[in-house]
């Protein structure tokens, strides 16, 4: 009596192949986010210094939420000075930059913040829930929120001065709705 189940062995390869085939439908560099235009998921996390930070309290300001990690080289290292520079330049005008450190070790994150002298608030997303809420694919990713708390622009990869300024200027120029 021949065992027929052994012919199932080759099927083991099928899921992997299907998954890879699925990969062709995507371009990892060009990721549309279904979240653009929607209200940004709110979160309350502790900053690296231990202070609580609630996204909701910044409603009415233009908020830049930047997902990063200390192991993300080179992109996060390139954009860190850019974020700090623009945060200093724009903070008086009602702009908040919030760094969300993901999949990272605390010491490494603190060292990163120290090395770049970052002064904007940085929270750690230890459980990864915020990253999932925002559909973060890889670091760095940056979300620009308007004053109503809606995600308006998602930027994948290192933020440049140009991207930061054009986006934030545009969002600042919009009328404040009551």
């Amino acid at each position: 009596m021949k065992r027929l189940w052994r012919w199932l062995i080759p099927l083991a390869a099928v899921p992997v192949l299907v998954l890879l085939a699925y990969g062709f439908r995507l371009s990892p560099r060009d990721i549309p986010s279904p979240l653009v235009g929607r209200p940004a998921p709110v979160f309350a996390l502790a900053t690296l210094e231990g202070a609580p930070l609630e996204l909701a309290t910044h409603r009415g300001k233009v908020v830049v939420v930047n997902f990063w990690a200390s192991w993300c080289y080179p992109a996060c290292y390139e954009e860190a000075p850019v974020l700090e520079r623009n945060w200093r330049g724009y903070r008086e005008r009602g702009v908040v930059v919030v760094g969300v450190d993901i999949q990272d070790k605390r010491e490494a994150a603190v060292k990163f913040v120290g090395d770049f002298g970052l002064t904007f608030p940085v929270v750690q997303d230890l459980k990864g829930t915020v990253s999932v809420d925002y559909g973060v694919y890889g670091v760095p990713e940056t979300f620009f929120l308007d004053r109503q708390g809606r995600i308006r622009v998602k930027h994948v990869g290192a933020v440049t001065d140009d991207v930061f300024r054009t986006t934030v200027d545009r969002l600042l120029a919009e009328a404040v709705s009551p």
Binding site: W7, P10, L19, Y22, F24, D115, Y137, G138
Partner: protein, 647 residues
Amino acid sequence: MTADLGYGMTLIALGLAVYGAIAAGVGARTDRLALIESAQHAALGVFVLVTACFALLTYAFLTFDFSVRYVATNTNLGTPFYYRITGVWGALEGSIILWSWMLALYTIILIVRHRVGARELYPWALATMLGILAFFLLVMTVAAPPFQRQLPVPADGRGLNPLLEDTGMITHPVALYLGFTGFTVPFAFAMAALITGRIGDTWLVLTRRWTIVAWYFLSLGLLIGGWWSYHVLGWGGYWAWDPVENAAFMPWLTGTAFLHSVMIQERRRMLRLWNISLVILTFGLTLFGTFLTRSGVIASVHAFTQGSIGILFLSFLALVLLTALGLVAWRWEALRSEGELDSVVSRESAFLLNNVFLVAAAFTVFFGTVFPLLSEAVRGVKVSVGAPFFNQVNVPLFLSLVFLMGVGPLIAWRRASLDNLRRNFLWPVALGIVAAAAAFALGVRSLLAALTFAATVFVAVTIAVDFTRATRARLRVGESLLPAMGGLLLRHNRRYGGFVVHLGILIIALGVMGSHAWSVQTETTLHRGETAELAGYRFRFDGLTAVEESNHFKVVGAFTVSNGRVLGVLRPAKKFYPQEQAPIAYVDYRLGLREDLYLVHGDFARDGSQATIKLQVNRLVSWIWIGGFVLTLGALLAILPERHKTA
């Protein structure tokens, strides 16, 4: 003209390879020697044609023949001679030529070595090799043709990717591809064994040395890749769990598992199914690696191009896996083990455990690499897996593997007695514990570092114990010391070659551990004449100079390094290539056994008054490269022809 000639030769080679594969298969099936001989001639023809293609493309590079599109996109009039040669395989199309050429070369060696003496398996192995070669030639004709006309012929080309202007680029891809393609041979024999039903040990014995060669080149390719990353990319590391690094690492892991598990089959007639599966897996992973690098499915720093090639590779991967696993299913009954595991405390189980850990590591890496795809396919959520995941899962696995490296070679087959354990492991364990204690006393507070020390000392002592004991036995029969030791190495070259490779791995493990645990870095902006300090070293910024090179312009910083006395001047640079938007950092470093000084140039003021630099003191990294040399010696020893024991 050049392009047409090259394309024509590729087409003929493809035709010959297809013909050869069919002829060898039909010849084997109908037992017609003439057909097999004809297939051999076809293989020779393919080799000659692919060599000619390779030579032609090289010639086109050397003579700046911009009528060939591939030449025009990957070189320009300023590209130095040396990089015009390495540029041949610097991008997708050329890398496929190199790949095909190596495969053709291996096919020829296979014919020369196994034509006589492996009558049953050889024709099928030849057919498999030629079939795989035909696939790569197909890629060369339809998906990534290196010979395509460029009209109108431009006056100058675009130029090579500047990151590839490095001496490592001659050795890294060559070694890596020799490793990748090398695993085709064991795979081909495994297929032959399945097709003919001769699942015994013949195919293992035939491919033993092939496997070591392939494994060695893959190891070398990985190490050189690490070196390239370390001294070119300028982030101070040598391994980033980048998808493409992972792609090369996975077959290395399963290949390593295979190298060890064959020993159990040879000795105990166990694990036939497992060994066949490992070979299929390893070869499948080399294809998967190629697919990853060239399909654009997963974003990575190794930005090879994309296009129809991905579909082609995926179809081929599917064909290979389904055929190979189908054959396994067909021969299911014959693949069952004859031997059985007698005891948990035995060499068999140590090797089995080694295999389980290696395959688990390979699976982890695979999972982490494709996870972004998987997550999106299943949940529609985009996530990524970073270095922390890989490290957390793999570090304990690797540490256990180091430990097993000491246990496996010494513990008895079948069932180890208490006496055997005490005889072999009392000293190693004791000294391992002493090493951990000494490390602690010297101020090492990291558990991981202490464990690594303990494990490496343990393994090193087991090797010493074994070697001393064997030497003593020879002294007792009247040999003098040096001939006794030399004789041991040569007579039992496989065993002692393996030991030397293990020593190499130990040294690499120490280097990896040290660089992770003790490296320090800082980033700072200096005005001219100012000094930065790190780990007892002082770096003084002396100024900037601008230099015009044949194909780029660079700004070089001068930093005097001292620790009490002046050690020298380091000159990291920023290179500006006309074809690149962003400047390329050029690292300068000073290597040392204890630590490397490593400087990367960041922003600078145009007038040369200030510069931002990243300073690193990287500890023990050099031992990784030293371990690579030791590993090379061991692998060479292991592939020496076996001597028959006469004395």
